[in-house]
């Protein structure tokens, strides 16, 4: 078998046209697509959304000041502070700000008294999306003040109802309340910075999930790679039928090596070719675009080898249904495009097509592409391990065996 594999590799390295399709074309497509996506991501980082708000703070008290500080501290907000609510409203009307925020003069007093109060947000109706963002920011900022108010009210109520400070003078009572409030808020802030209950983006194994462009690249490059890996189908099918046409297969059948070794030798050669394809494409993507390779190299290798087996076996299957080498080549090329389309090899979102749900996802599951892309995604984007991709490996191996078995039954050596 290895003798046939060695010969096949010798023949393959001289097939410049096929090598260009299998290596150069995916490198070109991947590089262009990757560059485009990376550039778009950089543009997005360099030019974040920037909103201007006009803040009219009429309250000189603690909560008014704190709220103003909080708004100034939000990176995407540019805060201008006119003197009056009317001026703030005028700025919005002139389109110089997305929203006007008016903090009433009695804001701190009302919060202290645990009485209802209101912050007015005047939004620009011409820019509803940005206005909605400001609205969301204000709700978050106000909720912070509300917590302070609630805690303060609670402290005072407890001190009053307990009667512990009944005999103290008002100054001492205020000092005790302030001290209690300070202690509680300090603890709350500590809990925020080191919360007992964490919400973090982690997978089942505890690995941090990559985000943004990194995840997209870990979907995009494997997708393109898997698509071009299956171009091997036409090359492998053509190779087998060409041997039958020129008579070398006949000569091999007359030699002591068994028929199965002839086919297995070819399958192994094309599997190695696929492995080389993946190494070149993933290597380039990793070096040039920082595509993550995950943390399970052995699983990555195993997946790639099985992917190669599926593609090569499919090539043998195509050969078994084709009448000539030329027909096998054409059929393999068409099949690889169709399967790539159905299997979601061209990435258009962060996640593999098979995860999207719906009929397209169901159809995708019928292709080896979808399973291979899902497995690569789990390993590279989600830092999964071999255990995480066992279902995909099983499906791919099953497909390889099925294709191989049908090809072996159908193929005519003579």
């Amino acid at each position: 078998m290895l003798i046939v594999t060695g010969k096949e590799i010798q023949v393959l390295v001289r097939e410049r046209g096929a090598l260009a399709v299998l290596f150069l074309l995916p490198l070109l497509v991947g590089s262009l697509y990757g560059t485009m996506q990376t550039q778009m991501a950089r543009d997005s980082e360099a030019n974040p959304i920037f909103l201007t708000v006009a803040l009219a703070n009429l309250d000189a008290g603690t909560f008014g000041v704190e709220l103003s500080k909080a708004l100034h501290g939000i990176s995407i907000l540019e805060v201008v502070e006119p003197e009056t609510p009317e001026e703030a409203e005028a700025i919005v009307a002139e389109g110089r700000a997305t929203a006007a925020i008016v903090i009433p003069a009695d804001f701190t007093a009302q919060v202290d008294a645990y009485e209802p109060t209101q912050i007015t947000v005047i939004l620009d109706p011409a820019d509803p999306q940005r206005a909605e963002i400001v609205n969301g920011i204000m709700k978050a900022a106000v909720s912070e003040v509300t917590i302070w108010g609630e805690v303060q009210y609670g402290v005072r109520t407890v001190l009053r109802d307990s009667g512990l400070l009944d005999d103290a003078d008002p100054e001492a009572q205020r000092a005790a309340a302030a001290q209690s409030l300070g202690v509680i808020m300090t603890r709350i802030n500590e809990l925020r910075s080191d919360p007992p209950i964490r919400v973090s983006s982690e997978d089942l194994q505890g690995a941090t999930v990559e985000g943004g462009i990194t995840v997209f690249l870990a979907h995009m490059f494997p997708g393109i790679t898997v698509m071009f890996v299956f171009f091997v189908v036409g090359v492998a099918g053509e190779s087998l039928l060409h041997e039958r046409e020129v008579g070398t297969l006949r000569r091999l059948l007359a030699s002591p090596i068994p028929k199965a070794a002839v086919i297995a030798g070819k399958v192994l050669a094309f599997t190695l070719l696929v492995c080389l394809q993946v190494v070149v494409l993933f290597g380039t993507a990793n070096i040039a675009f920082r595509m993550p390779l995950g943390r399970a190299p052995l699983a990555l290798i195993l997946l790639t080898v099985i992917l190669g087996l599926v593609a090569s076996a499919l090539g043998m299957l195509v050969a078994s249904f084709s009448k000539s080498a030329k027909q096998a080549d054409s059929a393999g090329m068409i099949l690889s495009f169709v399967l790539a389309g159905l299997g979601g090899a061209i990435a258009i979102s962060q996640f593999p097509l098979a995860r999207s749900g719906g009929p397209m996802a169901t159809v995708a599951q019928l292709t080896p592409h979808a399973h291979a892309i899902e497995a690569y995604y789990r390993l590279m984007a989600e830092k999964g391990t071999l255990v995480d991709i066992l279902p995909q490996l099983a499906v791919l191996l099953g497909m390889a065996l099925l294709f191989g078995a049908i090809a072996a039954r159908r193929f005519r050596f003579e």
Partner: protein, 336 residues
């Protein structure tokens, strides 16, 4: 001499079609044996069964004592096959091709290198050994094709139509190589061809195969002797059994057979044929006459026809060779 190959009633069917219908023959060690027949006669199918490419439907064969039905793996180590097609990898060099075919027979290391160098010498291609096959002429490719069948030093070499599409110079080179292999190395060779002159030149014995059956098997000399001094095809306006018998009794005539006109039909319009291959241009009856001496028999026959007022419409003298033997046996030409 012991037999390297014993073929016993070998049959091959493809569905309902019986391509080989019970072929039996033996090839002795060191013999060059010819398998002569037209295209589609069953020569390649027979060879395919003997080399393990096809499984026989019935019958058996033994190569060096190994039964091809039960011990094909061992039998294959004794065989070498030079297929009709140029069964080579055109982008690889001659040396790479030969090394690969040597490896599939278990050769390796220095042994492999030496064997490859040796067969390159045999086919006179040492100088071009490292050039890709696709840069070779048709004749050179044929020679590498033969070398690939020799690299593992088989005891029995099957040469299946090795000169198809080869220029005369390369053809002569192939003949020399075949004879040298046989004489100097004692290699047994089965040579299939539809070129009777090749079989006459190279083989000591031959089987003539037609429609899946062996219709004659003997030494070349004996096969040709079947025709005596040659065969004459005489076209006449009319002929009957009485005329046939009278001709058969003439001096220098061994046998006379009345042929149906269709058997000796003229060649298709535009078809090329030399004098020896062309059938009599007759639309009436044709009498095939096996002679002891063709020229003297012609004189007798023409004299008889004149005497009996029978008009001669065509006359063809077939020199005694395997082509004539085939025509004599089947009524067909080898290259039909």
């Amino acid at each position: 001499m012991p037999a390297i190959l014993e073929v016993d009633n070998l049959v091959k069917k493809f569905g309902e079609f019986e391509a080989v219908k019970g072929v039996s023959f033996q090839v002795e060690e060191g013999e060059v044996f010819g398998l002569l027949g037209p295209n589609g006669a069953g020569k390649t199918t027979t060879i395919s069964m003997l080399t393990g490419i096809l499984a026989p439907t019935a019958g058996t064969a033994r190569i060096g004592g190994y039964d091809v039905r039960t011990q094909m793996a061992q039998a294959k180590t004794l065989n070498g096959l030079v297929p009709q097609d140029l069964a080579l990898y055109p982008t690889l060099s001659a040396r790479a091709n030969l090394e690969f075919f040597g490896r599939v027979y278990g050769l390796k290391g220095r042994d492999l290198k030496e064997r490859v160098a040796d067969v390159l010498r045999v086919v006179s291609l040492t100088e071009r050994a490292d050039q890709a096959i696709e840069t070779f002429s048709g004749g050179m490719k044929r020679r590498v094709n033969i070398a690939a069948g020799l690299v593992h030093q088989p005891r029995l070499l099957f040469l299946d139509e090795p000169t198809v599409g080869v220029d005369p110079q390369s053809r002569n080179h192939i003949f020399e190589s075949v004879l040298r292999l046989n004489r100097e190395r004692g290699m047994s060779i089965i040579y299939t061809s539809h070129y009777m002159e090749e079989v006459e030149l190279l083989c000591s014995r031959a089987a003539i195969i037609d429609e899946g059956r062996i219709i004659a098997l003997d030494t070349i000399k004996n096969l040709i002797a079947m025709l005596g001094g040659g065969v004459i095809h005489v076209g006449v306006e009319r002929a009957d059994p009485t005329t046939r018998d009278a001709i058969a009794a003439l001096p220098m005539v061994k046998e006379a057979v009345l042929l149906a006109p269709s058997v000796a039909a003229p060649p298709a319009p535009g078809a090329e044929a030399d004098l020896h291959e062309r059938a009599p241009l007759a639309t009436g009856s044709v009498i095939k006459i096996v002679t002891e001496h063709s020229q003297q028999a012609v004189v007798s026959v023409i004299g008889y026809l004149n005497t009996h007022d029978i008009m001669l419409t065509s006359l063809e003298i077939l020199e005694p060779n395997l082509e004539s033997v085939f025509l004599h046996l089947t009524g067909k030409k080898l290259r039909d």
